[in-house]
């Protein structure tokens, strides 16, 4: 039986208020038993390092906080890879490399080793001040919805596992 290799990356910093939402979502998803081939990481602020965690997987979900002016906190957004907003400024540290840039680099450099499909689940946030633990109530309320969005992607891929090319 084909096994789909799926990686879920929860990004964020638990000591920076709502920035922790990506971590909280993957913790919720990890409570459910998943079959072999599904790996869930609390990835922190991986920057370019997200590629290391994706190599050799068929599919990937990235869960991250979204700072968007004009959008209320607690909205759950689903982006396909090509829809992810690009950072407009050059990185100042290796952790500062955006999702879109990291993926584009990986796709050009090692296309055959990266997942053929990457989905980003974003949660709009209010406060990402450092040295603060805990989520804003509106953001906290979005965690179950975001977790369900992640589960939906995993289930969709598991049901179509015969289309996974990097099967173990």
């Amino acid at each position: 039986m084909a096994v789909c290799r799926i990686v879920v990356l929860g990004c964020g910093n638990v000591f920076a208020g709502d920035d922790a939402v990506g971590i909280e979502v993957v913790r919720e998803v990890a409570k459910e038993p998943w079959p072999d081939g599904v790996t869930i990481y609390e990835a922190g602020a991986p920057g370019l390092g997200m590629l290391d965690l994706m190599l050799g997987n068929d599919k990937a979900v990235i869960v991250d906080a979204v700072l968007a002016a004009g959008m209320p906190p607690g909205q759950v957004i689903r982006w396909r890879e090509e829809e992810v907003p690009r950072k407009e400024t050059p990185p100042l540290s290796v952790h500062d490399i955006g999702v879109r840039d990291a993926l584009e680099f990986g796709r050009k450099a090692m296309p055959e080793d990266l997942p053929d499909e990457v989905v980003v689940i974003g949660i709009t946030v209010a406060n990402v001040e450092p040295w603060h633990m805990g989520l804003d109530p509106a953001v906290s309320g979005a965690v179950p919805r975001a977790a369900e969005a992640v589960r939906r992607e995993i289930r969709r891929w598991l049901e179509g596992a015969d289309r996974c090319t990097k099967s173990v």
Binding site: Y41, A45, L48, G49, L55, V66, K87, L92, A109
Partner: protein
């Protein structure tokens, strides 16, 4: 790893020889992983594409577009090797809970050792390639050499780094050595003595402290002989040591100082080259340790028997000297802790280097272009500071603002990223 060393000291237990080697092996892989990313993603865009290139191409994609897609593959491959080695030992590559008081929780099998050896050989070759790339792209371009050696990015301070008994760089263990602005040794200290040598200045506008050399007292944000300010990280380490403990890194070390006018080098942008010298050392040391038969020894832990009390652990993080100091109660519960992390040591130098670069490139009548702003950021980026680790939100930007004042001290313009 620094916390592991501090906890060894808290429990008064020495790790076994095999455990020490395994920790250093793991840590060498960590340096390979970190230094490759910094050079190719942060330093290379400014030099390969040019400091005033369009920001749309002044990035890692632009770099591989210019030097070859296959180089991008090599960057990812060798970072992944380093991650695999860390995961092999620590159970996971990021934030592993692997060091224990007196040793480590898992060793290497012979089969794993052979895998590490092959990956390490490849890392050595990639480090050679990276040094050659720097040579071809930067050193053969006189304009870049002039930029590195010019006053815009010159900061005259003391330097700090961990050294072995021969004063060679060691990332994992040894004594902290500090040299002055002329490169002369000021002192060396063991981890437990750090409070006698380093103090932390506080400014009201920041929660980040400004460490300085206690011997001089707080001299403010000053450079030159007598300053209390010191620099850490690759430039601090290469200036504070007398050489590298592996042959190819030693060759690269000698070329570094021969080209840049002898030790110490006060050129902030030379940090990028120093980082590649260290990449070579980390790769060579990784290979040396992978070929040491003791790393497969099952004797990987001394069980602590003493009552825990207080301890300090120091090692070199990629971004500088890292100090962890814990005091515990008799049950081993931490009651007091102080950390001086890599970037914190460089807090004052970063502020000074950015100010100096800004004052050098922002002049009356000169239009403030993207290229000018980037030349200010280059001073900041050389240190690879950890400030932006704070958050990682999509669409979020590290807040960076340039205030430009006129000759009367009035705010004339503010530019934001």
């Amino acid at each position: 790893m620094a916390s592991g060393k501090a906890i060894d000291a808290v429990f008064g237990v020495e790790p076994t020889p095999a455990a020490k080697k395994l920790r250093e092996l793991f840590y060498s892989a960590h340096f390979v992983h970190s230094h490759i990313a910094h050079f190719y993603a942060l330093a290379a865009p400014d030099f390969v594409m040019g400091p005033d290139a369009d920001p749309a191409v002044r990035n890692v994609l632009g770099v591989i577009g210019k030097v070859g897609l296959e180089i991008g593959g090599e960057v990812i491959k060798h970072r992944a090797y380093a991650q695999q080695i860390q995961a092999m030992l620590g159970g996971k590559a990021t934030h592993p809970a692997w060091t224990l008081p007196g040793g480590v929780s898992k060793g290497l099998t012979e089969e794993e050792r052979k895998q590490v050896e092959e990956m390490a050989k490849s890392c050595v070759e990639f480090a050679k390639f990276s040094l050659k790339l720097f040579d071809d792209v930067v050193l053969k371009n006189q304009a870049y050499v002039d930029l590195i050696l010019g006053d815009t990015y010159k900061l005259v301070t003391n330097y700090m780094g961990l050294v072995d008994e021969n004063n060679k760089i060691n990332f994992y263990d040894g004594k902290v050595r500090v040299v002055d602005t002329e490169g002369k040794e000021l002192f060396k200290y063991s981890p437990r003595e750090y409070v006698d040598y380093v103090a932390e200045h506080v400014e009201p506008y920041s929660y980040l402290k400004y460490p300085y050399l206690k011997k001089f007292g707080w001299t403010g944000f000053t450079e030159g002989p007598g300053t209390a300010i010191y620099q850490v990280a690759p430039l601090g380490r290469i200036n504070a040591c007398d050489g590298m403990a592996t042959p190819l890194a030693q060759e690269a070390y000698e070329k570094f100082f021969a080209t840049l006018g002898g030790r110490p080098v006060h050129a902030v942008l030379a940090t990028h080259w120093a980082r590649l010298v260290e990449l070579m050392y980390a790769a060579e040391r990784l290979l040396e340790l992978a070929q040491d038969e003791e790393v497969t020894s099952p004797d990987i832990r001394n069980i602590p028997t003493g009552v825990p009390k207080e301890g300090v652990g120091i090692l070199e993080a990629p971004r500088g000297t890292l100090t962890h100091h814990y005091a515990t109660d008799a049950n081993g519960i931490v009651v007091k802790a102080n950390l001086i992390v890599g970037t914190t040591n460089n807090n004052a130098p970063i502020s000074m280097a950015v100010k100096k670069a800004a004052m050098s490139v922002i002049k009356p009548g000169v239009e403030i272009t993207n290229g000018v702003l980037n030349m200010i950021e280059m001073a900041f980026r050389a240190y690879d500071p950890c400030f932006s680790c704070a958050t990682h939100a999509i669409l979020g930007e590290l807040p960076l603002k340039v205030n430009i004042y006129d000759s009367k001290g009035e705010l004339a313009k503010t530019l934001s990223r």
